[in-house]
């Protein structure tokens, strides 16, 4: 059984490590054609890293902002399921749910759902979520100021940084051969569509095709 203190310390550790990569988001976003205000608004009001990276990745590749936003929202659908598993354990009233929803992200969920009591679930959730929120936004601003000066994402290899960021987000999910093949299939379909469709569409179509494949093809032995 962890103490309250250790839950808070662990949560702050995750908060510091995760919040720090706001700097990469800020720099890439501002170099990809968003201004500093737009970059900071994304971190303040969207506040779900993978979706934010997806949006700026699609904008940088010349995609339509609406296609980019829809892809980002689809990617954010996992937060819906995080909320489901958090709801019982956090035990919140109506207005508390409204105030807490913004902090439902990968890390705050991971640091909360493993706790044994409601009190420690809440400690893990709020200390992780709020510490990431504060640092993620500060670092986004710092990164955006630097990115705005850099201008072209190719300078300093920022375009390569986006691919690496996506791979870093995907990596912990590649725990089975099924997941790896779904990711590869999504990549292959998207690549095939790049010469054929408008920018942004290969991602949502390739991703969609891979979800369908993953639903239809169920391995008998899950790895």
């Amino acid at each position: 059984m962890s103490t309250d203190r250790s839950v808070i310390v662990d949560s702050l550790g995750v908060g510091l490590a995760t919040g720090a990569y706001g700097v990469s988001f800020g720099a890439i976003s501002a170099a990809s054609g968003l201004d500093v205000l737009q970059t900071c608004v994304l971190s303040l009001l969207v506040f779900t890293g993978a979706s934010q990276f997806a949006f700026i990745g699609i904008i940088a590749s010349g995609g339509n902002p609406v296609t980019g936003a829809l892809t980002a929202v689809l990617l954010g659908s996992r937060n819906l399921f995080y909320g489901l598993s958090l709801a019982q354990k956090l035990d919140l009233k109506g207005s508390q749910r409204l105030a807490s929803a913004h902090f439902v992200i990968d890390e705050s969920t991971a640091m909360a759902v493993t706790r044994e009591t409601t009190r420690q679930t809440r400690l893990g959730f709020y200390w992780t979520g709020i510490s990431i929120f504060v640092l993620w936004n500060l670092m986004t601003f710092v990164g955006a100021l630097a990115g705005a000066k850099i201008g072209d994402p190719q300078t300093y290899g920022l375009d390569a940084a986006v691919g690496a960021a996506f791979l870093g987000l995907l990596w912990p999910r590649l725990t089975s051969w099924h997941a790896r093949l779904v990711a590869l299939f999504g990549a292959a379909v998207a690549m095939g569509l790049v010469p054929l469709t408008a920018a942004g569409l290969p991602i949502i179509l390739g991703g969609g095709a891979a979800v369908v494949l993953g639903m239809l093809w169920r391995p008998k032995v899950s790895a």
């Binding site: 339509n64 954010g76 290899g157 940084a161 998207a190 991703g207």
Partner: protein
Amino acid sequence: MTSLWVGIAIMIVGCFALKYAGLSVPERVLNHPATVRAADLIPVALLGALIAVQVFAHDGSLRIDARLLGLVVAAVLLTLRVPFLPVVFAAALVAALVRMG
């Protein structure tokens, strides 16, 4: 650019609605095996597609350049359990150095 703000507005509303709905909807509404499976697959599938497009697409065609080397470096470092931020910096650095050379 107005359309960028339109995209941003869609994201703000859409992403918050998903988070709030998760905390508010009764669990049985969404707790169906197929829904849970799809929810696990969506990020994997989309991130796979995002990586491919980010690394190979260039003005509507495919191109192999320094970005691929950056991705390979990232994959090696992730295998070695290097944290996210150093991985991203290393990928950028390698791509930038290759382009200078």
